[in-house]
Each structure stands twice: as C-alpha cells, then as structure tokens.
C-alpha cells in the first residue's frame, strides 16, 4: 500500500511536470516538483530510502526528458544522500530552512546540467542561464517547496494509520 501510494504520487508529479505546470512558468522557468520531492525524501525518510528514491526518480526523470541519461540520476541521488546524511546536523522544520535547502539543491541540480551540457553533450547553453534562469528556478522551487512539504506531510499522515506496518522503517 505504501509503495503503491508512492508510485501514484510519482505518476501525478511527473504528469503535472510534463503537462500543465508550464501554465505557471515564470520567464520560461517552472518549478521542479521532482526535485522538491527528492529533498522531502532526504529530509523525512531514512538514508537508504531517500537515496533509493533519489536514484529511481532521477532515472525516470532522465527517461522522460531528452537530455543525457544519468544527469538527473546523479543530481537527485546526491541531493537525497546529502540531506539524509546531514539532516540531523541541521534544523529541518519550517519554511525558511526548507526554502534554503531547496535553493541549494536547485543550484546544484542546475550546475550538474550546465556542466554535463558543456562537457559531455557539447551543446550550447545561453549565457543568461547562470545569472537568470538558475536563480529564478531556485527561488521558484524554494517558494513552492514548503507548500509541497505540507501536502506531502498530510498525505503521509493520512497513509500512516491505514497501514498495519506503517513505513516499515521508512521514517528517520
């Protein structure tokens, strides 16, 4: 039941990301719901679950994009690893810490793309990417993220009493 619900959330997020989310684009930039979910996994779940989730979500995101396979797998799994490892050293509740985590994650995610595009794919990246698109992307994620955290917390809270063996060690 738990894993089934996670798959449903993933399908919904990927569908939203690839269809109607563009209606809310700002300057051609939309938030990355998958990134927010990976940070959520890193902060809320055990390390192995978070890294597993990061790898799986990154791999699916790579498959659903026209980019290089492995770029999102790398960034998302490292983000999940980073937050699942360091969450006990930081205060992770509240809008401000979550917002800061999301800004850091977004910058890292964007830089991984930037360097992979420039080195492996030998493609062109507009010069405005670093000082325009990436900051907007980071701030957008940081604004959307806390609300998504609240929704995901509600879903988790709703699922928990419905399962005989809730989370099976998923929580930190």
């Amino acid at each position: 039941m738990y894993y089934f619900s996670q798959i449903l959330i993933a399908i919904f997020l990927f569908s939203a990301q690839t269809t109607w989310l563009e209606l809310f684009s700002f300057g051609g930039v939309t938030p990355d719901l998958i990134l927010v979910w990976v940070v959520y996994c890193g902060v809320r779940y055990s390390r192995s679950s978070a890294i597993g989730g990061g790898i799986a979500l990154g791999l699916v995101q790579d498959s659903l994009s026209g980019g290089l396979l492995g770029v999102n797998t790398l960034s998302k799994s490292l983000i999940a690893y980073f937050f699942s490892t360091l969450k006990n050293k930081f205060y992770v509740e509240g809008m401000v810490p979550i917002g800061i985590f999301l800004i850091v994650s977004s910058v890292f995610d964007g830089l991984v793309f930037y360097f992979s595009m420039g080195t492996i794919l030998k493609g062109e990246v507009a010069s405005s990417f670093l000082y325009q698109s990436l900051p907007v992307y980071s701030i957008y994620n940081a604004l959307i993220g806390p609300f998504m955290f609240v929704v995901l917390d509600k879903i988790d809270g709703w699922l928990q009493p419905k399962m005989s063996n809730p989370y099976m060690g998923m929580r930190r």
């Binding site: 569908s15 995101q61 990246v125």
Partner: protein, 269 residues
C-alpha cells in the same frame, strides 16, 4: 584511519557516481541505450499526459470560447490559422519560384509537402527544466522513426530523437543540442541555426560581409538530410556585427510559437 561511518559514506557516494557515470557513458556510446527506459516510462505516463492535456485544453476552450467571447474567439482562431497557412503557402511559393528559376532546365521542383506526413498532438513536455523537448502521441506504430522532421503550419519546430511504440520525443530547434543547416530566403547566404536552450535561436557562421536585416526570413537548406529544403525556420530578430571576428551574431525568432504547440506534422521522408 577513517571511521566506519565515513567509509560507508565514501562507498555510497562512489557507488552513486559510478552508477550515474556508467549510465551517461552507455547513453553517449550507444545511442539506443535509453530506448527501453524511454519506452517504458512513456508507455506508463502517456495516458496520464493525454488525460491532463485534454482536460487543460477542454477547460481552456471553455473559457475562451464560451464564457468570454463565444464566436469571436473561435473566428479569431480560425483567422490566425488561415493567416499562418497563407504565410506558409506564400513562403513555399516564393521558394518554389526561386528554385524553379535557378533549376528550370535541370530538373522539376520536388515539392516536399506532397509527400506523406503524420499529424500528431503534443501531449507532454520535457520532465526537466532545461531540455527543450516535447512528447507527441504518435510512434513507430504510425510510421514515425528517429531523425524525422517535425513542422507546423508556421514552419520547422524540430526533429524526432526517440520514437517509442506510441509516443515520440521531439527535440525542438531551440534546444542547445539542435543544429539546422539554413539559408536566407532573399540573399541565399547559408548558416547554421543553433538552439540556445531559451526561446530564441542563433544563426551562426554568417559572414560579416553578408547583408542581413531584422525581419529577414530563414529557411532550411535541405543539407543534413533531416529537414527538406525551403521550410521556414524563423525571422531575424537581432543582428550584431563585431569589428573583430569573421561572423555576425544573429538572433532568430522561430516562426512557430514553441511554447504553445498543440498539433504538429511529422514528415515521413
């Protein structure tokens, strides 16, 4: 001596790096490496993408056509389409005329539009922020394969980079990996239209001596084997000549509105 926890951390990070690099290498070395994953992900997600896209279009249609301007919006849409069609037709005719003038005694003009094409709907966009790729609802079962040109009434939009059974990915001309050989409609000077990952493209390798003006039309040259000759790509929106250097810096606005793609045409040749 490193602690046990540190060793575990190093091992984990190394494993992640190795796995990701292996995937990237596989993808770069073997272009077909990701086909299976792409097809499976596309197969699972395409019904949901279809559902969301159709729902949005229905809601959008309702708002545009019923609540606000019942008939005017519809007529306006039709007129816009008609204008796009006429512009496209005019460009084709101008191009055809120019071509026939040059080649009249050599060969008959081969009109690409008479060849086979498949109409497809855009059902999704790229799952990441940065690649400019759209997903269409037709695949190999409909005759689509990799490296086919994709156009709209207004002009070229991109090429198929992965054809799954029922869905395909189209790399738009604004993506940083896209390059289309092109020429100016008027002066026939050639260049390469390169995407920059944003809403506009750049036209590279146009010599400083060439007379280029804002508003000049740029067409596909037919070189490269993907895009037939004479399809409109876009119009020049900015020209800058540097005192040093051989080439001009030309920015191009694609003729199709790539942020609002709904139906496209895949050219099967």
């Amino acid at each position: 001596m490193p602690k046990k926890g540190n060793k575990k951390n190093i091992a984990l990070v190394s494993a992640i790096l190795l796995f990701s690099l292996a995937l990237m290498t596989l993808n770069v070395k073997q272009e077909k490496g990701t086909d299976f994953l792409d097809s499976v992900a596309g197969f699972i997600l395409s019904p949901f993408q279809n559902f969301f896209t159709q729902s949005i279009q229905s809601v959008s249609d309702s708002i545009n056509h019923y609540f606000f301007l019942v008939d005017v919006a519809r007529e306006n849409d039709q007129l816009k389409l008609e204008v796009q069609r006429l512009i496209s037709e005019k460009n084709q005719l101008v191009e055809r005329l120019a071509s026939q003038k040059r080649l009249a005694k050599l060969m008959a003009y081969d009109d690409g539009w008479e060849k086979k094409a498949v109409v497809a709907s855009v059902i999704g966009k790229d799952a990441t922020q940065w690649s400019k790729v759209v997903v269409i609802n037709k695949g190999t079962q409909h005759g689509i394969k990799d490296h086919l040109a994709v156009v709209t009434d207004a002009g070229v939009i991109g090429q198929v980079i992965h054809a799954g059974p029922n869905t395909s990915k189209v790399l738009l001309i604004v993506d940083g990996r896209s390059a289309v050989d092109a020429l100016f409609q008027d002066n026939r000077i050639s260049g390469v239209v390169v995407g920059m990952g944003e809403n506009e493209c750049q036209l590279k390798f146009v010599p400083n001596t060439a007379d280029v003006k804002v508003g000049d039309s740029v067409l596909s040259s037919g070189l490269g084997g993907i895009f037939p000759k004479g399809l409109i790509i876009g119009k020049v929106s900015q020209v800058s000549k540097k005192k040093q250097g051989l080439f001009q810096e030309i920015t191009l606005t694609p003729s199709s509105d790539l942020s609002r793609l709904e139906e496209v045409l895949v050219l099967l040749f």
